[in-house]
């Protein structure tokens, strides 16, 4: 494949198409709009559908509607739109309808600074919608990985019948890099686990032993009910504890049991390091540079880069805390994922390096934290 210069947002659009996305509904918002623009051009070429909705609430609603109609669906937005979409993240989690939601984070709160970078939506991605629910959030560190993790987001979404958030940031979204994207045929695609049982046997929320019941598309002869109310195995509303409790257990179990497949990360020299930097998104690029500089000065520094933000990589951080005495968590917010690191590695010294003013955290800021130890 030809080497090309492209933005992270462009790579997301191509990744979506390679993953089999055939429906996009969105609302214009900086800094994510390129994704919508590219897909409005490319989707109809493949027989896919693009629609610009009246707001972000409607956008995610349309995606869920299209997904239950059988099309892999995606929307893309940024902070203010992400806030509006919380309602339907909960609906998708409750109804277990796959969809992918890209949030190219910008500086908030409110309108904030639309063209400035931020990692301020980490906790919102986890807890933004009301109620307890499982969620998957992935965060790329490069243009090429924006492509790869978009594909992964679709695959996880179909595999686990869950909404998946691609938690980008403005720098990764707008940054241009030289990339060589894989051939479509070389991309691993997960297709929806459908059903072939007679319609009268089909239970849309049945306990099939795998924790992820097969999903029949609307219009294929399996007539069933979908609701945001707590429901029984048939999808009918219920108030019975013996039906609500198993549902809650199952939807959390379907993520927990597969946590090793879902938590993606990269380790570099964490095993023998006294100091480890735990990082993600655009900040991970500064962290990588800072670690390189520190090693030149003979510091024993490790680097852990998280690609899966939620569920949190508890095992990895716990293992790091076994050997390292100091963990540094740089992030472009006032300290969000650091709370998780502190929760798991609280017995060690955890240093936060924060900046939430729309500017990147520089390698020097992280280097200072490494050397202050």
């Amino acid at each position: 494949m030809k080497v090309k210069l492209m933005q992270g947002n462009e790579a997301v659009a191509w990744g979506a198409l390679a993953a089999g996305c055939r429906f996009f509904a969105g609302y214009p918002i900086t800094p994510s709009t390129e994704i919508a623009e590219i897909l409005s051009r490319e989707l109809p070429k493949l027989g896919g559908k693009f629609i610009q909705m009246e707001d972000e609430i409607a956008s995610l609603a349309a995606c869920i509607g299209a997904s239950v109609g059988g099309l892999k669906s995606m929307t893309a937005t940024s902070g203010p739109g992400f806030s509006l979409m919380q309602e339907h993240i909960g609906y998708a989690a409750m109804t277990e309808i796959p969809c992918v939601l890209v949030n190219v984070q910008r500086l908030g709160p409110s309108t904030g600074q639309p063209t400035s970078v931020s990692q301020g939506d980490v906790m919102q991605a986890r807890w933004g919608t009301h109620g307890d629910h499982p969620i998957i959030a992935l965060s790329p560190i490069s243009v090429r990985q924006s492509f790869d993790l978009t594909v992964t987001a679709f695959n996880f979404s179909e595999l686990y019948r869950t909404p998946v958030i691609l938690l980008m940031d403005e720098v990764i979204g707008h940054m241009r890099e030289k990339v060589e994207l894989p051939e479509a045929a070389d991309v691993l695609r997960v297709e929806r686990n459908g059903t072939s049982v007679p319609p009268e046997w089909y239970k849309p929320y049945g306990d099939t032993g795998s924790d992820v019941p097969p999903l029949a598309n609307f219009g294929t002869g399996y007539r069933y009910h979908v609701t945001g109310l707590f429901h029984d195995q048939m999808g009918y509303p219920t108030q019975r504890l013996d039906e609500i409790d198993p549902w809650i257990e199952r939807v959390h179990r379907k993520i927990d049991r597969n946590i090793h497949d879902i938590t993606l990360f990269e380790e570099d020299g964490t095993q023998f390091a006294k100091t480890v930097v735990v990082s993600y998104g655009a900040t991970a690029r500064s962290a990588r540079h800072a670690v390189k500089l520190a090693r030149r000065r003979r510091s024993k520094v490790g680097l852990a880069t998280l690609f899966t933000i939620w569920p949190f990589a508890e095992e990895l951080v716990s293992r790091i805390a076994d050997t390292a005495s100091h963990i540094i968590v740089p992030e472009m917010n006032r300290g969000q994922l650091a709370l998780e690191v502190e929760r798991i590695a609280g017995r060690r010294k955890v240093t936060r390096v924060n900046q939430a003013n729309g500017e990147m955290i520089t390698p020097q800021m992280i280097l200072n934290a490494i050397e202050a130890n």
Binding site: A18, A25, A58, A61, A62, G65, G69, H225, T227
Partner: protein
């Protein structure tokens, strides 16, 4: 009558526990039966029908119906339906909403679904109150009426649902009442058949909240008011405007042929595919 009852039973979910959630005497069941009769008369395959709803008393209708059904979030039913219709244009997508659901929290989606003229059939059961939450005033509560959140009388103008749909661009707009059940199912049938956005406003009542607080009597009394206040479109056309004040005009209010959204989008696909022979997606 026996035949009708039998037909309706065929379309109800036998695995779903009855009775339904509605208060006895409620008009929503009449709308559900009219919807069933319309689908039955059109001989639609149940697999090809989707019924989508939002939140509220009317939002509970789909669960009883043996179609592809989806009970979505408050106000957003039309947005979900838009995605489903675009993904599966061959489905007959029917959206049932209450007045608060469709016009307050869902007002924006309502306007834009009509503007796009997407082939959905929207049925708004207008009982001029939020019934499920206990009788708060809605966008269609008449002025001076009492509500649990308007203890001194409502001072907001009611929203003219049909006028709004017509101005926004709907292809087909009609009004009926729960008293006129047979007329209603004919209108629903026409609405499903129509290519484009169709709206049926069904005037209903809530005797347990609005009726009680405004001392309008029983369900039967309120049904009688609907009968007495309503006038057919044909009869209303012969009357001067001032005599129509306070009347419910029933019948087809708008029926126009205009391009439908999913058909237009199919043209977009053809244009995109013609303008460029399909390249490899990563080239």
């Amino acid at each position: 009558m026996t035949r009708e009852t039998h037909d309706e039973y065929e379309y109800l979910r036998h695995t779903k526990k009855f009775p339904n959630v509605w208060c006895s005497g409620c008009g929503i069941g009449i709308v559900m039966a009219a919807l069933i009769r319309a689908v039955d008369r059109m001989e639609l395959n149940k697999d090809d029908v989707a019924v989508i709803s939002g939140i509220g008393c009317t939002g509970r209708m789909p669960v009883y119906l043996d179609f592809n059904t989806m009970h979505t979030t408050h106000g957003r039913a039309l947005a979900f339906a838009t995605g489903l219709k675009l993904a599966q244009p061959r489905l007959n997508v029917i959206v049932v909403m209450g007045d608060g659901d469709a016009l307050a929290i869902g007002g924006n989606h309502f306007i834009h679904a009509a503007r796009r003229n997407i082939d959905l059939t929207a049925i708004v059961v207008n009982n001029s109150i939020y019934g499920m939450t206990g009788g708060q005033y809605s966008p269609t509560t008449p002025m001076d009426s009492l509500a649990s959140t308007a203890p001194y009388g409502n001072v907001e103008q009611p929203m003219p649902i049909c006028d709004l749909a017509i101005v926004a661009g709907a292809s087909f707009v009609a009004r009926s009442t729960v008293y006129h059940a047979i007329e209603m199912d004919r209108l629903i049938e026409q609405a499903i058949q129509k290519q484009g956005f169709s709206l049926i406003e069904v005037i209903s009542y809530c005797h347990t909240t609005f009726g009680r607080i405004n001392k309008l009597g029983t369900a039967v009394d309120m049904m009688r008011i609907l009968k007495e206040k309503s006038i057919s479109k044909a009869a209303s056309d012969k009357l001067p405007a001032q005599e129509l004040s306070g009347k419910i005009v029933r019948g087809v209010l708008c029926n126009q042929d205009k391009p439908e959204f999913t058909a237009l989008y199919q043209q977009v696909i053809e244009r995109a595919q013609q303008s460029e022979s399909n390249k490899d997606i990563t080239s």
